[in-house]
Amino acid sequence: MTKQVQQLDRVIIRFAGDSGDGMQLTGDRFTSETAQFGNDLSTLPNFPAEIRAPAGTLPGVSSFQLHFADHDILTPGDAPNVLVAMNPAALKANVADLPRGADIIANTDEFTKRNLAKVGYAGNPLEDESLAEWRVHAVPLTSLTVRALEGFDVSKKDAERAKNMFALGLLSWLYHRPTEGTIKFLEAKFAKKPEIAKANIAAFQAGWNYGETTESFSVSYEVKPASLPPGVYRNISGNQALAYGLIAASVQSGLPLFLGSYPITPASDILHELSKHKRFGVRTFQAEDEIAGVGAALGAAFGGSLGVTTTSGPGVALKAETVGLAVTTELPLIVVDVQRAGPSTGMPTKTEQTDLLMAMFGRNGESPVPVLAAATPSDCFHMAVEAARIALKYRTPVMLLSDGYLANGSEPWRVPDPAELPDISIAFTTEPNGADGAYLPFKRDPETLARPWAVPGTAGLEHRIGGIEKADGTGNISYDPDNHDRMVRLRQAKIDGIDVPDLVVDDPDGDARVLVLGWGSTYGPIAAAVRRARRSGGKVAQAHLRHLNPLPGNTGDVLRSYDKVLLPEINLGQLAMLLRARFLVDVISYNRVRGLPFKAEELAAVIQDVIESD
């Protein structure tokens, strides 16, 4: 049977199932195949905080969305063209997101009376007219898998568990994905259980063959590779990029990396990744709590390491006092906040941009801290190096903001040559800097206002630092009113004076009167929305902040040179508040706090409204 092959420029697939169905793994594998093939791509994993919520229920649904294209894309996509629903709960939780005409591949074996009732379906939607606006492919994935594995020495349970690989095989056929990578992956993953490896590979191939032979699928699709700038690429998630960025910062600074961290969603993968790289002299310390994590990092920094702590919002709250100590002792420290939905425990696996004001101000006293925010998953790499550069050059703690969307999302990344990376090394102080061989730990560099950094082991420079106010220069305890006023201002001036690149505005025609400004992970959805607006004739400029404190020097000028500034944020207007206070510019906020990234279509409509409104 010869099947028709249709060309597409882009596809959005969502794999959805029970949290035990292996949907994240299936999505990861499809992503790897797609990256290997050379498409541009962007992913959005979405999973419950519960490790195994009750099977078959709506709270237990886990999904993985992947957008791939023959051109460069910016987001994981708004609405899936294909939904793989492993059970009724997965269908129910996701069907509302599907546009008319989308494909639904449903595992009919799970559409039992009991499972349907669990999620409130009165009848079987696969058999009535309720899904008429979509193309439904009813496939008994479980029983087909079990049948395909009849000759294998695996239990029925293990055979059933391979159904995700059957689904992956089917989708791989449907979109002409390469298969060698997945076979190699399965061989390696189950190296110690060769029978399981064989069974999973057989299920994967059976899925492919099923697509080839069944009449349920008459068409398959091709999405040509994208033409991206030349280079070597890999797929990378935000957390992995951030971990690599920290290692790169250690190499580029010549200082050993010390990570003090306490496990917390969605930041733990940075700890996991860094703990694998002891060959780089990386020390990872899983502390007894968040406070000990940052404390140990600061202690290591006092000893001359590149001290880092990684956490999410609740952890930043606990670390605040120690960050203040780093501010006043003027030691380099990197605090990574992978933001998640709050307040309190909030929604740990969902994304938000609600920690900006905490990062800026969440400490006692006048306690200025540089704040950076990564824009995309791969940008986490570069911002980690930038955070280290600032921390070391200015002897200050730096807050680096990521979020759940960047942390778990992935995209192809043109791998940089280490020779392209900046040299961020600094020199420890080894000689006295005062009269009569004295060492003045708070005698500042006149240009950067950074204090000298002499580490223990340096003879003749023995000194004491601490949280009590210090006399300018000597660092001795001081309660002098004028000295305190001077030190408060010096610490502020040091942070205000950090060299930050100018804000770059993208305005192809140069005549836009509306600027869309963003920060952090909204870069992709905003850029995609701006493209849409421009395609439909809208004049709109875009700029994105990666340095939030201090802001780029031209920020005020940029804001004032547009009639209107639109600022979408996944919070209730935190950056908008800062910009209004600082520049008296009445930015137009667009805020949604749903635990999910913005959709390009949603923002395109907002941009259009702003352009058209008076």
Binding site: V232, R279, G281, S305, P456, G457, A459, E462
Partner: protein
């Protein structure tokens, strides 16, 4: 600075800390800062004892670091001409952990008090002890909050009348020695501010121990809890109640007709009996090196708020690998297996593809 990037260090006690070639005196360890404790405070005696003890170690001064939290005792680092870090309340063991784990070439001392170590910082203390981080933790126990002006502390006796407990405190106090042994600390000792010889002897053993050493120092706060340890200092009572623990020696104390001995009890603990009532081989011989902490724990329970008998000395001193040592070994093993990491190779790891 010693190369700390790649582990590869082994040794005990102070073996990894560079030694000085020039003789040191007490003066070398005095900083230029005016000491500002209340006149008569027990901290002065401890400071003087430490300053006169440090030259004995023969270490390079620049490789010694004192880290403290918050409280009266935590001002200590300012008065020593070494590296020092006066940090925040309760967190000194955490900060010192990062320093000691990344710098095996340093002799790191933590100065803390009963409130700092056992209340706000209790969590960090027990974890530093169980990990056996290479720290000497000196816990100045005066059984009161001094710097906040006289509230009861986690070592105050039940019923303590203070500003915050006008009808008496309700909480049962911690016994720091029992707590440390419960956390399986490798080195646990108690001494007293007024007995310089004993204090310095304990410090000597603590410094020689690689890993976490917890030294409780009974320290008099003459403003808010004066005389808390008088029974241990008054010549009339001192020798009757002080149980000096010495490794390998039968545990006896008291004088003349009041001489007492310690033996194992039938309930699994230890008990104090009149010396005349027991034969020599019934008397418990102190074994500080016993890997089983049970006897050391039982001895710590002899202490009681009424001070009928108070053990001092080294309760427990056992060898086990220190945290920095184990961490360095992992770095060394990883590097030995596959060589030093290359950034280029790391970034190109996993599945890659070429465009153009």
């Amino acid at each position: 600075m010693t190369d700390i990037s790649n582990g590869g260090l082994n040794g005990k006690g102070l073996a990894l800390v560079p030694r000085t070639e020039t003789a040191q005196t007490l003066k070398d360890f005095k900083s230029d800062q005016e000491v500002r404790w209340c006149p008569g405070c027990g901290d002065y005696a401890i400071l003087a004892a430490v300053q006169s003890f440090l030259p004995e170690l023969g270490l390079r001064r620049e490789n010694i670091v004192f880290v403290s939290g918050i409280g009266c005792s935590s001002r200590f680092p300012y008065y020593l001409n070494t590296y020092g870090f006066h940090s925040i309340h309760g967190r000194a063991p955490a900060i010192a952990t990062g320093l000691a784990a990344s710098r095996p070439d340093l002799s790191v001392w933590v100065i803390t008090g009963d409130g700092d170590a056992l209340s706000i910082g209790g969590n960090h203390l027990i974890h530093a002890l169980r990990r056996n981080v290479n720290l000497n933790i000196l816990l100045f126990n005066n059984r009161i909050y001094g710097l906040t002006k006289g509230q009861y502390s986690p070592t105050s006796e039940i019923g303590k009348i203070t500003k915050s407990t006008p009808m008496g405190s309700l909480d049962k106090p911690f016994n720091p020695i029992s707590l440390a042994i419960g956390a399986e600390a490798g080195f646990v000792a108690r001494t007293i501010d007024s007995d310089r010889k004993h204090l310095q002897g304990v410090l000597r053993e603590a410094a020689a121990h690689r890993g976490a050493s917890l030294v409780e120092i009974y320290q008099n706060c003459n403003i808010f809890n004066d005389g808390a340890f008088d029974a241990l200092k008054d010549p009339a009572t001192r020798d009757e109640i002080t149980v000096k623990l010495e490794h390998g020696r039968p545990i006896v104390f008291g004088t003349g007709d009041n001489e007492k001995a310690v033996r194992l009890s039938r309930t699994g603990g230890v008990e104090v009996v009149r010396r005349s009532e027991v034969s020599d081989d019934e008397i418990l011989v102190h074994d500080a090196h016993n890997p089983d902490p049970s006897a050391a724990f039982a001895l710590s329970r002899l202490d009681d708020p009424a001070f009928e008998h108070v053990p001092i000395g080294v309760f427990r001193s056992i060898d086990r690998p220190s945290y920095d040592q184990l961490m360095n070994e992992q770095l060394q093993t990883a590097t030995a297996d596959k060589g030093r990491g290359s950034l280029g190779d790391l970034l190109l790891g996993g599945d890659t593809w070429r465009i153009g």
